[in-house]
């Protein structure tokens, strides 16, 4: 389904070497921004960790929506699958953080396989409706299975053991943040690699014109399903990170609201660039945090105003706007400004 007004042109002209250099710079900048956050806001690390967990969710939406052209309002189902899998494993004695992340990734991938199998049977609006139905089903399942998930009271009592046996997940959240940042970097670098591989190109081709891709002799369904599984793993890692750093898993992690918010963040940042997902998450959550602290009673109005402003001023998302402003957009054909 075509969701963006603009369609980023596939950068066929850039050489592989140039792309590598650009990605290296990008990853370094994320690392630098992350470390800067660590030094600048040592008192807000729990918030920043939450931003990273949600950023992973937004990245996972970018994979299926920005690259595969499948709009979804149910991505939190995959995030929640990861969070609950890690949480349940942790309560039952698996407390090593890296193992928990792995469990989250696997659970997310399995949920992604399930969700993709169902969603890819439909197209367009029906697909979107299916995604909502699936996240609601996951939500209700988590609510019903309260013996395992704690239901609406949340799954509490996650005692995660120290990272590498040395670094505790404590009040100040330094371990959780740096652990999250490292995860984000690894995931982001892998995703850059994946989206610029022939497989990633094929996905973008499908987004542009599935009929043509089919005519070329490629199978659309398995390619998109593969993307769904990757996306599920990424969302699952985000969920597991949220579970580890919060020590509680709540029903909100499989909610429609979280899915919708994450999609808003993606649109805010810009679809189909991966960078946009990060920018959107940081700006949305940062802004939300600042205005809700200034006025805890009427801050929603401000967030609404920001969203309207961005959509009107920069229909391609903030990263698109920044691209244009910094002149990187030379090679892009803007259909409209």
């Amino acid at each position: 389904m075509q969701v963006a007004a603009q369609t980023p042109e596939i950068a066929t002209s850039s050489s592989a070497g140039y792309r590598w250099a650009r990605d290296a710079v990008g990853v370094t900048l994320i690392l630098a921004a992350g470390l800067a956050g660590y030094w600048l806001f040592p008192d807000n690390l729990a918030l920043l960790t939450r931003v990273i967990a949600v950023a992973l969710l937004v990245l996972s939406i970018d994979l299926v929506t920005g690259y595969g052209g499948v709009a979804t309002l149910g991505q939190a189902a995959l995030f929640g699958a990861g969070a609950y899998a890690a949480g349940i494993a942790c309560v039952n004695g698996v407390t090593e953080p890296l193992t928990l992340i792995l469990i989250g990734a696997v659970a997310g991938a399995v949920a992604g396989l399930f969700m993709g199998t169902i969603m890819l049977r439909a197209h367009g609006l029906a697909q979107l409706v299916l995604s909502i139905a699936i996240v609601q089903l996951f939500h209700e399942a988590a609510n019903k299975a309260s013996a395992y998930t704690g239901g609406s009271d949340g799954l509490a009592g996650l005692m995660v053991s120290p990272l590498f046996g040395a670094f505790e997940f404590d009040l100040w959240g330094r371990t959780a943040y740096l652990f999250g940042l490292a995860l984000l970097i690894v995931v982001f670098a892998s995703l850059r690699f994946i989206v610029s591989s022939p497989f990633g190109m094929l996905c973008r081709g499908i987004k542009e014109d599935p009929v043509r891709i089919r005519a070329m002799g490629a199978f659309v369904f398995p390619v998109l399903l593969k993307m769904f599984v990757i996306s599920g793993a990424v969302a699952g890692i985000g969920g597991a990170l949220a579970a580890i750093s919060t020590q509680v898993v709540g029903l909100d992690s499989v909610s429609f609201e979280l899915s919708a918010n994450a999609l808003v963040m993606l649109v805010l940042g810009g679809l189909g660039t991966l960078y946009g997902a990060l920018v959107g998450t940081v700006i949305f959550m940062g802004f939300e945090h600042v205005v809700s602290a200034i006025n805890p009673f009427h801050w929603m109005t401000m967030v609404g105003a920001l969203l309207i402003g961005v959509v009107l001023a920069a229909p391609g998302g903030l990263s698109g706007l920044l691209d244009r402003m910094s002149g990187i957009s030379r090679r892009r054909k803007e259909k409209r400004t």
Binding site: N143, S146, S152, G154, S292, H298
Partner: protein, 393 residues
């Protein structure tokens, strides 16, 4: 675009640093609650309770100025709850945490308390298990089991032997169902059928049919307050169950004062049990209602979270008095264990073992006042009820 992200970082930083550090003797109290979104009214009640207490008892204790910082948590979201609590502790340097409407949010804060050396006074979140998560939690609200249990006896006393229970299918609903069943069957009654309704049910006539078919003499109900309760009560009236003499029992969440205007005459005669009614007749409550009404704007918006917050502030003031402004969570919590006082809701005390409030539970009937408005009329008192969900009953 990375450059822009950094610029944004600096901008956000400037905003965050903009909050001026307060003077040394100021003691900060962080209140987390739903101040926006669908539960904003409950958050407003928190705020009204806090402001009413400070208006009546001054803004300082032993010369220590008290500053309250509100943080908004619109819905149950443990990750955000933890982030907010962490920030209040680490950045804003609050010595006390209070508020918290939803159980998962409280669960997310409890692991921080020991290391932060900060007590948490819960104004609402009502699941028994929270208290066992940390020794630094004190609660001034109620639990569903606490308010529901007296109903079992009441039903039997009123000659009801067979009851059908109908609850919304979510945590508190299931808690209420279990608590009622336990109390009612202990008193000699029998729950003939237990119906769990999906949370978003709007058409209750099939449920009413099941009530009729079950042959029960009364229905026990628990639904989230608001439109669902309204729909349920209307269906109860319109399908003729009320006329047929089938009684209606429920915990007081269903007829909280802020919902009564919407329920109107349909609610007349409903029997509910709860720990607080705005109409409670005592000088303490009169003072409280007056001060809280001033804070919230209109008496019709006032309901139980305000009294939880009012008593929560009382507990926090006593903690500050005991520690004389020093941050010592253990000493603060020890100081309020066993403490008894007269709250707007009646005599209360903090149970020394469980740190949960011991309070009177009242049987109320929705009645029409002289001004034509409906209110909860207290008709029977069950003194000093503890939480049956916690071990030391």
């Amino acid at each position: 675009m990375k450059v822009a992200k950094k610029i944004l970082g600096v901008a956000v930083g400037a905003l965050l640093l903009g909050s001026v550090p307060a003077m040394a003797e100021t003691i900060k109290v962080g209140i987390i609650g739903p101040f926006s979104g669908p539960f904003a009214l409950q958050g407003k009640n928190f705020q009204a309770g806090v402001e009413a207490y400070m208006a009546l008892n001054g803004k300082s204790v032993k010369g220590h100025e008290i500053e309250v910082i509100y943080r908004d948590l619109p819905a149950a979201n443990p990750a955000q709850s933890r982030a907010l609590a962490q920030e209040l502790i680490v950045k804003d340097k609050v010595q006390y945490l209070g508020g918290v409407y939803f159980t998962p949010d409280a669960m997310a804060i409890t692991p921080l308390l020991k290391q932060a050396n900060t007590p948490l006074v819960i104004f609402n979140a009502a699941t028994s298990a929270i208290m066992t998560q940390s020794p630094f939690v004190v609660r001034t609200s109620f639990t569903t089991a606490q308010t529901t249990t007296p109903l079992g006896k009441i039903a039997v006393e009123r000659g009801v032997k067979k009851v059908i229970s109908a609850v919304s299918d979510y945590g508190p609903g299931v808690d209420a169902e279990n608590a009622f069943k336990k109390a009612f069957e202990a008193a000699g009654g029998k729950v003939v059928e237990a119906v769990r309704m999906p949370l978003n049910t709007t058409d209750f006539s099939p449920i009413m049919q099941r009530v009729r078919d079950s042959g029960a003499e009364a229905v026990f109900a628990f639904l989230p307050s608001g439109p669902t309760t309204l729909g349920f009560v209307k269906a109860y009236n319109e399908t003729g169950l009320k006329q047929a003499g089938i009684k209606f029992f429920a915990p007081g969440d269903l007829t909280q004062e802020s919902d009564l205007p919407a329920l109107g005459d349909a609610a007349l005669g409903l029997l509910t049990t709860f720990h607080y009614s705005v109409s409670h007749d005592s000088p303490e409550n009169k003072r409280f209602v007056e001060a809280a009404t001033k804070a919230i704007g209109s008496v019709e918006q006032l309901s139980f979270p305000a009294v939880g917050a009012f008593d929560g502030m009382h507990v926090i003031y006593k903690m500050i008095e005991a520690t004389d402004g020093k941050q010592d969570a253990q000493k603060a919590v020890d100081a309020v264990k066993g403490m008894a006082w007269t709250s707007p809701r009646g005599p209360v005390s903090i149970d020394a073992e469980t740190r949960h409030i011991t309070e009177n539970i009242y049987l109320r009937e929705v009645a029409k006042g002289p001004d034509g408005k409906t209110y909860n009329k207290e008709i029977q008192t069950f003194p000093n009820q503890k939480d049956p969900g916690l071990a030391t009953q």
